[in-house]
Symmetry: C2
Subunit: 479 residues, 2 copies
């Protein structure tokens, strides 16, 4: 066990004294002190082990020895800026490019997802000469001022929120709670048309659209998975208006979705964004990130006449760490693990949906999974307090999970990619127990089931009216 | 010697292919490939040693073993976000605070000087409820979009520069080339009055000023040292308008100025900024930075209702590295070294000024030193080409120096803090030779000298008319 510098109370006191009070801790009434971590496990000052289901930054597992070794060895040798030639920089750019469609060939290395998204906006503004940005409702793109402006997840929190006139908020393509749902004949087109309407309205005001930006899968927004084909249709509208498509992969890239290395690839091979931004998992916790774009956009940015220099971006240590992360993903087949274990976890959660009325929706791709809790499956009343209760009770049982989304009622799974089926079993078993207790206290019951003609079970209450509309959907949802 | 991954030509080719063309290399016609570094020396792929006179990021010396060890050991143990309690975070905040005036007690940890300055603006906007920002001419505050807006050094580079209506550019308090010079009876008041005029003009337009931001010593702007008392007077004007004073220490903090730990302290003990931003040297190359402010500003920011979360900011590895940097500064008395060696270097350069007509001004504090080259000491015609020539010729002799400022004619010394008197001797000796050659080629000659009444030498030509106005200034400049 690692020696502490201060007893926990002293740590809390010093934090209150010296750390900005806007910087929140998890479980504020009884925060956790973590002193070491390995794989998908974190350990507190007393050696108590926590299962980490939320840390998508520790992508290949906490303190992975190959990543640590790469970082330490390069630190010992050289850590300087990218105005000098270095092989790590170009090798890493080459390796990243190999994971992407060919036309995404030019990299800019920066230090955080926020720096990446801000640079993506600068690229779009410069390339198009336009100013306006279309973003999705509930989106989160970062903490620097330009990104607060395009992050409804953040600016909705402000008492005196004033939305920038050059920012337009499109409907979140949420098939569970959004305007167009599972029962809609073509939600991809309907949601893309909403983007097009915003473009037309902007044009009517004499504005021009520089970019549409979206997380390839919305994370803070509630683990939202847009319908396939949506991005293609949006890109058509945005390109027609002279704008660019920015895919924000900060939370969901690097193999997490299991079937693909990048989450935007879930939309189909015919979709290629103009700019991709990366972040959190890229360095397994090391502060680094990247923007990748096309040669055309990069040349336009250069032609503005302004040099781009980022003091720390692309330094040899960051690149060595980035290379090691790619190596570990390959060597340990973590993308494959995300597919297998993510699928297993999703199936376990779907069983919970069959059993527990509070579980309204389960959705996921690989190790990016959400379970949305509702008090009523027709009205979709968010079960916010219940979600918080689960998170706190799990914490008492040494499992770290979070609830997010606009109503903070979506249990959000995005664990280190070495997460195992046993880990999935354990967390879902605990959730099962907690849900049983909560539902008992609330007097909530699952209605009796009937069997459908093909043998799958179907709920037979008004609370499930939506599901009865399209039988195939029901079956997919229930299995 | 370290094995290369690619031959240099291949590195260059890959860089052209995969790295944004706005990202420039030093010495673009024959860039340097650096494979390792130690202390104030960098080594290329052939083992050739370069003396580093420019790398203020490698503050305690390249690859300092204590810093490397601290980073490697903490990486092995834990690297996670600040939503968990950790002693490194609070200990580091406490240590930083101890270097600052007491009222600067609340820290926000971020990943780069750019993130720090953007957050400083957000704090000021939220605290004051005002929008406008006053910045200095030639200032550089970072690369994210909000900072390009307040960085004339950058936005002057744009072909289609359009200055934001909420940004006001004040005169740079440059005593050599600015509006009010050495011969002005009270340049501090005169430059501060210019800020006040901008405030009044903003008020006339119905605008309100949120902040005045300045590097404590302008670096990219040409190693400008504002007259003592200037910041106090500016702060009075800005506070009266309800705004905050942001001191940007990204380039100049952490003991570089020799006499003080922070460069704003050069203004006198009666001056305390409302916000201080840190960056480059803070982690000796590791991507990290910090914003420190008062309890009042921090509470106002919290009261906006918006959480501040920075994924990588304040992680245990960054804090371990930050702590090690502070330890090394203390243990090796690097602030004392900056004072001694910086003073020695400045004196050597002042001797060059006596000898070489091209050296128009030498100014410095500790290991932050500038030598401004001019073709004419009255007209102050910038010797831009000559400065570039010197930089290139030094590079051929394996010395890394840069030229900066609005005319790129200021030789800019900001070496690792372990720089020695022998290093200073070597670089100045080479500069002496190069200046001699250039001046010979140009037919430039130093006029004959006369002795002043107190025995110090004084130039006796019209080119020195300015210096004759105030005898004490002349003597200080010449010694």
């Amino acid at each position: 066990m690692t020696a502490e510098m201060f007893p926990k109370e002293k740590t809390i006191d010093l934090r209150k004294k010296h750390i900005g009070p806007s910087c929140k801790v998890f479980f504020s009434h009884d925060p956790i002190k973590i002193v070491r971590a390995k794989g998908q496990y974190m350990y507190d000052e007393n050696g108590v082990r926590y299962l980490d289901c939320i840390n998508n930054v520790a992508h290949v597992g906490h303190s992975h020895p190959m990543v640590v070794k790469a970082g330490a060895e390069q630190m010992e040798l050289l850590n300087t800026n990218s105005r000098f030639l270095h092989d790590n920089l170009v090798q890493y750019a080459q390796r990243l490019q190999a994971t992407l469609p060919e036309k995404l060939s030019v990299c800019y290395f920066v230090n955080s997802g926020s720096e990446a998204n801000d640079l993506a906006l600068r690229l779009a503004w410069e390339y198009t000469g336009h100013k306006d940005v279309i973003t999705l409702d509930n989106a989160y793109h970062g903490h620097v001022s330009s990104l607060i402006n395009i992050s409804p997840y953040k600016f909705h929190q402000l008492a005196n929120a004033e939305q920038s006139k050059s920012v337009h908020v499109a409907l979140s393509p949420d098939l569970y709670r959004g305007n167009y749902r599972q029962d809609h004949p073509d939600p991809a087109t309907a949601y893309a048309d909403d983007v097009n309407n915003l473009i037309q309205k902007a044009h009517e005001k004499g504005h021009k659209v520089a970019a549409f930006i979206a997380e390839s899968l919305q994370s803070c927004g509630g683990q939202v998975i847009p319908p396939a084909g949506y991005f293609q249709k949006v890109a058509q509208h945005v390109h027609r208006a002279g704008g660019l498509f920015i895919a924000d992969e900060v939370q969901v890239g690097f193999g997490r979705v299991g079937t693909h290395f990048w989450a935007f690839q879930l939309q189909g091979e015919d979709f290629v964004p103009d700019i991709v931004t990366m972040g959190k998992p890229i360095g397994n916790g090391h502060p680094m990130s990247c923007v990748v774009t096309t040669r055309e956009v990069a040349e336009a940015f250069k032609n503005s006449g302004m040099e781009y220099f980022n003091t720390f971006g692309g330094n040899p240590v960051s690149c060595a760490i980035g290379l090691a992360v790619l190596d570990v993903i390959e060597k340990e087949d973590l993308q494959g693990n995300a597919l297998r274990v993510g699928g297993y976890l999703t199936r376990l959660l779907e069983q919970q949906k069959e059993k527990h009325p509070l579980v309204g929706d389960v959705r996921g791709r690989g190790l990016f999974v959400g379970a949305e809790l509702v008090r009523d499956r027709v009205k979709l009343t968010p079960a916010t307090a219940e979600a918080q209760d689960i998170i706190y009770k799990l914490k008492e049982q040494h499992i770290l999970l979070s609830a997010d989304g606009p109503h903070r009622n979506v249990l959000k799974f995005k664990p280190p990619m070495c997460f195992s089926e046993e880990d999935a079993d354990m967390v879902v078993e605990k959730i099962d127990q907690i849900l049983t207790d909560i539902e008992k206290a609330l007097g909530l019951q699952m209605p009796s089931t009937v069997h459908t003609e093909n043998g799958s079970r179907k709920r037979n209450i008004c609370g499930h009216r939506r599901f009865n509309l399209r039988k195939t959907d029901v079956i997919i949802q229930m299995e």
